[in-house]
Symmetry: C2
Subunit: 369 residues, 2 copies
């Protein structure tokens, strides 16, 4: 007999990127940071003892919250710690949207959003992004017309790396009647000279929730620690009601705190990733791929099309993905509209990127021979 709710029975689960266990694979498919966490984080880990795990952790990760609040010049009740960014996304939906409500989702973006909507029994309104993956000018109007309770925007956008300015996001926040989630999973890789800052929006608007994670910029994907930033009134129901009572563990709290305190050291790695992003972008463009500008740690590379040969480009993209995989290089291929003729490539170490470019050049050579 099957006991699950009807909407769960009918839905399809989230398909995460492949996580192969072989250490020798060149893994450029799930946007991990190519460099390990900094020395201060390593030391914090070495100082953890099993004796520290005997008791329950701080329910609200107060030491981490104090550190994050100081960093963002906010109060601790403007910070909510979560077991990875996914938990925060789920919490937002279960806290602010009833079954039957509508969620607005930039399309294409993180494929987990519609899965979380399905779990809660919510409908989705897909808001089509522009040719350059920017949010449409009437994003808020479209979301309001759909009656959306929550709207999700990834910035820098995934899977393209396109950056919306905080002014554009401010306009959406001001005009949207529901909760605006700005998923900043990749914020650390933005060029600092752009002076992007969406956290300031949480001071002006009580409907803005900014998501930050330690997974990417801080090289701690294996640790599962993220946090949300927002008005106290917005966070309170999640902090004090819907969050699992001990949702983050002692070690992740300790390491996340150390990582945030040592962010100047992590920033050296972000600069290295930006330098390699530029090199990769140039090399891919020279090879004939079209790559939009990326402010993230990945590049979306479009296979060149001749006339209306989209189907050919799509076949070619899939085939390149598969051939790279057989050579031990994993990148990401999305079987969905607007993405089938593209490859998403995480920026790796200089050596990994060189190997990827070499392999790609060989494959393109062979296919034109």
């Amino acid at each position: 007999m099957s006991y699950e709710r009807a909407n769960i029975r009918e839905m399809t689960g989230y398909a995460s990127g492949e996580q192969p266990e072989q250490p020798d694979i060149i893994k450029l498919n799930t946007n991990e940071n190519p460099y390990p966490a900094t020395a201060a984080v390593a030391e914090a880990l070495r100082n953890c003892r099993v004796e520290d795990l005997r008791r329950y952790p701080s329910p609200l990760a107060d030491r981490f919250r104090r550190t994050a609040a100081e960093y963002h010049k906010l109060e601790i009740d403007n910070i909510i710690p979560t077991n990875g960014g996914d938990e925060l996304l789920r919490l937002v939906i279960t806290t602010f949207a009833n079954a039957g409500d509508t969620l607005a989702i930039a399309e294409p973006s993180y494929s987990l959003y519609p899965v979380l909507a399905d779990i809660q029994g919510c409908k989705t309104a897909r808001i089509m992004l522009g040719e350059d993956w920017s949010n449409p000018e009437d994003f808020a109007d479209q979301a309001n017309r759909a009656g959306a309770r929550i709207a999700f925007v990834v910035n820098p956008h995934a899977p393209s790396g396109h950056l919306n300015s905080s002014a554009e996001l401010s306009r959406i926040a001001e005009n949207f009647s529901g909760v605006l989630v700005i998923d900043e999973a990749y914020v650390d890789f933005i060029d600092p000279e752009l002076r992007y800052d969406a956290v300031e929006l949480t001071r002006k608007f009580d409907n803005v929730l900014v998501l930050r994670t330690m997974s990417k910029g801080y090289s701690l994907a294996g640790l599962r620690f993220a946090y949300g930033i927002g008005a106290q009134s917005l966070l309170a129901p999640m902090l004090y009601k819907t969050r699992d009572s001990y949702n983050t563990d002692y070690i992740s709290q300790t390491l996340a705190t150390a990582a945030l305190q040592d962010r100047a050291a992590a920033a050296l790695n972000w600069a290295k990733v930006r330098a390699e992003r530029l090199r990769l972008h140039r090399a891919l463009s020279e090879m004939g791929f079209y790559c939009g500008s990326s402010q993230s740690n990945f590049i979306l590379a479009q296979i060149p099309q001749h006339a209306d040969a989209l189907a050919g480009a799509e076949r070619h993209a899939l085939s390149l993905y598969q051939q790279l995989k057989s050579k031990g290089i994993l990148i990401r291929y999305f079987d969905q509209p607007r993405l089938r003729d593209k490859l998403r490539i995480t920026v790796g170490t200089p050596d990994q990127n060189t190997q990827l470019l070499l392999a790609l050049r060989q494959l393109l050579q062979t296919s034109t021979d």
Copy 2:
């Protein structure tokens, strides 16, 4: 403006036991194991490197699941890993109960259940436990009459420590039309001579979910790692649809696996806890408290009543709790029906228990002077 759902706005959050940061407190209030995790777990922690955290963890904790499946003589799809037991309880509700559905809850028991019901917008049917905290004979009938989709039983029972036999649970599983959750958070402290085994029920019934945690028996409350055991058909929607995609982290997976493999060493601590439980039970009884038999790592001690002086016993219990706290000894007082004249005391180390008994004796002496 307030954006949360109406049921969230109206509900009250879960109040967890106090988690003071001072290390010198004698903490007998949230049922932690008094002994740290074993040497094998300490070594597994020492072997964790920040390099291991750069990548995402195994989404389903496959190494842990193989270990647990082998231990329980089941398949890996009979095991679901979760971020503490609380996550599994939440998952069960969001997967199997729609808003408006009813959940059957043994009363009194873990006060988180009704909070989780509120979050999902579910109703609760409280099933009153007997005088000795045993499940009523017609538990399944009561739950069925209430139309419950899920029923929650803690075994050994909390906050009393009473153990229901697996035969009794089997009768409930057989007759209940919904999903029966057997929360075995404290199972490791049961006297092995009793040969209690409810995991066998998951082989016979497709509606039984057994919850196990590494928090108590394995001294890893700070780590947040638990797991569910059940039929593949029961676990599949949680494993592949409703669970957060990376719900447990690399370190907790690694340490939980090491702990389960080293359970023979942990069992030496369980025996020590049982020995102290007996000593505490005897000493409290001699002091005039009424304590039922406990198969857990805590004792529920009832203040002696004279005639119908319940109110006096309740005042006395609260006052003892407060006075112990002012002496640096934390135990648990529940301000709810049937529990207000009782104190729940976690079994500590021999020295902690001796100090508790000394302090209690002094306080009782003073109050009768």
